[in-house]
Symmetry: C2
Subunit: 345 residues, 2 copies
DNA sequence: ATCGCCTATGTAATCCTTTACATCGGGATT
DNA sequence: AATCCCGATGTAAAGGATTACATAGGCGAT
C-alpha cells in the first residue's frame, strides 16, 4: 500500500467541485464564488494538499525561479549581492536558487541544467569565467533563459550586465596613495584571467603612469582574491630588498591577509606600508587597522541586476534579440580609513 | 509563430525511432543498441534538444535536488558548510538549492514550497528557529521531505542532526581563560532565542561556576552573532566601571567587532582584555591579533549532514518513521592564538 | 521444424496542473 | 416575453518525459 500525496483531484472530490475550481481558487481566487472558495479551502485543510510544483511548472512552461551562479560562495563579497537579488526577486514572486560554480568549472559534466529555459526562468551570473566553451551560449536565443551578468562579465559574450567602473575605481585608489606622497607603489592582483583583475590592474597602472611613476614587474604580486594569497604576497614583500611603500590590493580579503601576515612579522601598517583594499567588506571597517578601500554598493548591484533580469524576462525572445543590450555601471567610492598614511621617513 | 523548444518527440522523429528509445538512450544507454544510440545522439545535436526538467520530475516523482535553508547567507560561517554539502551531494548526482531564510522568518507567505516532497527530494536546515509554528512539521511523515538539521537544531522537533557539542566547547574556552588567571570573565551572547546561544552560554556559565567564580549580570552582553553587536558590546565594556578582564564571544564575528571597536578606542587586546571567539572563520587566524577561538570542522559538518540526508532519502517513509533518529556530534578544538593572555597587572 | 528465450524496440498510460472552451442560470434590457 | 450578457462552473486537452507492457525478430536447443 504505497502512499500517494493528495492531488488536486482528491481536493476536488472532497470539496464536491471540479479540479478547475480548485485550481482557480488556489491561483485566481477572484474568479471563484465565496461559497466554492470556502469549500475548497476546507478540503485543502482536510486532505493536507500541497501543490505539485513540477506539474505546475510543466503546464505553465515557467518555474517562477531564477538561478544565481556564484564563483565562490566562501567569498563573503557575494553575500550582500545575493541579498539584494533575493529581496527584489522575492517581491516579484520568484524563488532564487544559488549555485556555486567552483565545483563545475573543472568538470562540465556536473553542470546543472539551470541554463535551459525550462529549469529556471532566468539567470544571474556573477562569474565571468564560467562561459568556457560558451557554456552560457548554448542553444538558440529562443531556448536560452534570459541572463544578466553582475559584477563580473565575459568579454566574449554580449549580455546585459550590472557592474562598477573597476578601472576608474582602481585609479582612485592609486591617486589616493600618490597624493599621500607614495612614489613606490605595488599592486596585488587577483587571478590572472579574471576580468576584474584585468580592469583593476589597467586602472592602477594608468594612474601610476599618469603621475609619472613606474610600476616595475617586481612590485606586481600575483594573487587570487583570497586571504592566503594576501599572506603569500606579504611574505614576498617582507623578503624583498627593494620594497614599495604602498600596496593596492585587488580585494579586501587579500589586503587583510597581507596586513595580518605583516602583523605576525611585526611590521606596522600603515607606518611601514600603506595598504588599500577593494570591495569594502563588512569587516573592513572593523579590521585593525580599519581598511582604506573601494566601497562597492553590493546590495544595490544585486537589486539592479535582479530588476534588469526581471525586465528581460518580460521581453519576448525576439525582442530580447533585437533590443539594445542594457549595461549598467554603478558609481563607487573610495573610503579612507586607517590603513593608508604618508610613506615612512 | 511562437517558438517551441524541441521535445523528445522531435528528436524521435529526426532519429526515426520512438520516444522511448530516445529516453532510454539518454538515461539508460545500456538498454539500447549501438546503432540507435548513434542515431539519437545525432538527432539531439541536430535539434538542440534539452531535457525538460519539469516533465521529468513530474513523471519520476523526484527532483534530484535538495535544498539547504540557511539563516543568513551574509554570515561567512556558512560558506564552508555549504561547500561540504555541495561536494557530497554533487557526487551523488544531486543539485543543491540554497535559500536564505531571513526574508522568510517574518512572513510565512513568502515561504517556498521546498518543504513538500515534490519540490526537492530532501532538506538540510541550518536554522533552528525556522520551525515557528512547526513549519517544518507540516504534512504527514509520508508527504514530508526527509530532512536533517546541521549546526543548529530545534528543541521541539525530533529530527536527524549533525552538530557539535557547543556546551563543552564553550566550557573549554572558559577553562582556557581561567587557566590564564582570569577571574572576572564576561560573556557576549548570540541572539537570545537561538539554540546555540543557549548551549554556549550554559557551558560557559557552568565552567565559571565550576571554578568557583561568579558571572554577574553586568558582565553578560547581548548580541546577535554580528560584527555590529560586537561593536556595541565593546562600547558597553569600555564605558563600564567594573569591567571583566576577559570576554568569551559566542561568535568570531562578534569577537572581531569587539576587538575592532576597542582598537578604535585605543584599548589593546590582549594586553587590557582577552577575547575568545567561536567558529574559527577563515579570517580569524589573520586578524590582528590572531583570534583564540573554537574551531568548528565546518566542511566536515556539511559533508556529514549531506551523507546523513542521503541515507535518510534511501529509506521508505515507514522506515524513516520507525528507525531511531540519528544524531551525530562532531568533536571541536580550542585553538589558542594571540587574542588571549594573562590578565593585566 | 518447433519452441522458448533474450534483446531491442514500440505503444500508450501515467505523473498533476492549468486553462481554452463549453455550458448553465439568472438578471437586466428592450 | 424574448434576448443578451455575465459570472460561475465543468469538461477535457495540453504540457514532456518515463516506463510497464506488448511485440518482433534472432538464436540455440531439442
Amino acid at each position: 500500500m504505497t502512499f500517494r500525496a493528495p492531488s488536486i483531484r482528491d481536493v476536488a472530490k472532497v470539496a464536491g467541485v471540479s479540479t478547475a475550481s480548485v485550481s482557480r481558487t488556489l491561483s485566481n481566487p477572484e474568479l471563484v464564488s465565496e461559497a466554492t472558495r470556502a469549500l475548497v479551502f476546507d478540503a485543502v485543510q482536510q486532505t493536507g494538499y500541497r501543490i505539485n510544483v513540477s506539474a505546475r511548472n510543466l503546464r505553465k512552461q515557467a518555474t517562477s525561479a531564477i538561478a544565481v551562479l556564484v564563483p565562490n560562495l566562501a567569498n563573503p563579497f557575494f553575500a550582500r549581492i545575493l541579498s539584494g537579488i533575493a529581496e527584489v526577486m522575492s517581491d516579484a514572486g520568484f524563488s532564487v536558487l544559488i549555485t556555486d560554480t567552483t565545483p563545475m568549472s573543472l568538470d562540465d559534466h556536473h553542470f546543472p541544467v539551470f541554463l535551459s529555459l525550462n529549469q529556471t526562468d532566468g539567470l544571474i551570473v556573477l562569474d565571468g569565467l564560467l562561459a568556457r566553451d560558451a557554456l552560457l551560449n548554448r542553444g538558440t536565443p529562443a531556448t536560452r533563459a534570459p541572463m544578466v551578468f553582475a559584477c563580473e562579465w565575459n568579454e566574449n559574450l554580449v549580455r546585459p550586465s550590472v557592474t562598477i567602473d573597476n578601472e576608474a575605481a582602481a585609479g582612485r585608489a592609486m591617486d589616493h596613495l600618490i597624493s599621500l606622497g607614495h612614489r613606490r607603489i605595488g599592486v596585488l592582483n587577483g587571478p590572472r584571467d579574471n576580468v576584474l583583475t584585468k580592469a583593476r590592474f589597467k586602472g592602477a597602472e594608468a594612474a601610476i603612469h599618469a603621475a609619472g611613476l613606474e610600476l616595475p614587474q617586481r612590485w606586481i604580486y600575483d594573487g587570487d582574491f583570497t586571504l592566503q594569497s594576501g599572506v603569500r604576497a606579504a611574505a614576498h614583500w617582507h623578503g624583498a630588498q627593494d620594497r614599495p611603500t604602498a600596496i593596492f590590493c585587488a580585494s579586501d580579503e587579500m589586503a587583510m591577509g597581507f596586513i595580518g601576515e605583516l602583523n605576525q612579522r611585526a611590521v606596522k601598517v600603515p607606518d611601514e606600508v600603506s595598504v588599500v583594499g577593494f570591495d569594502d567588506l563588512e569587516i573592513a571597517a572593523h579590521f585593525v587597522p580599519p581598511l582604506t578601500t573601494i566601497h562597492q554598493p553590493r546590495e544595490a548591484i544585486g537589486r539592479a541586476a535582479a530588476r534588469m533580469l526581471l525586465d528581460r524576462m518580460n521581453l519576448s525572445p525576439q525582442e530580447r534579440e533585437h533590443q539594445p543590450v542594457p549595461k549598467l555601471v554603478l558609481p563607487v567610492d573610495l573610503v579612507i580609513r586607517k590603513s593608508t598614511a604618508p610613506p615612512p621617513g
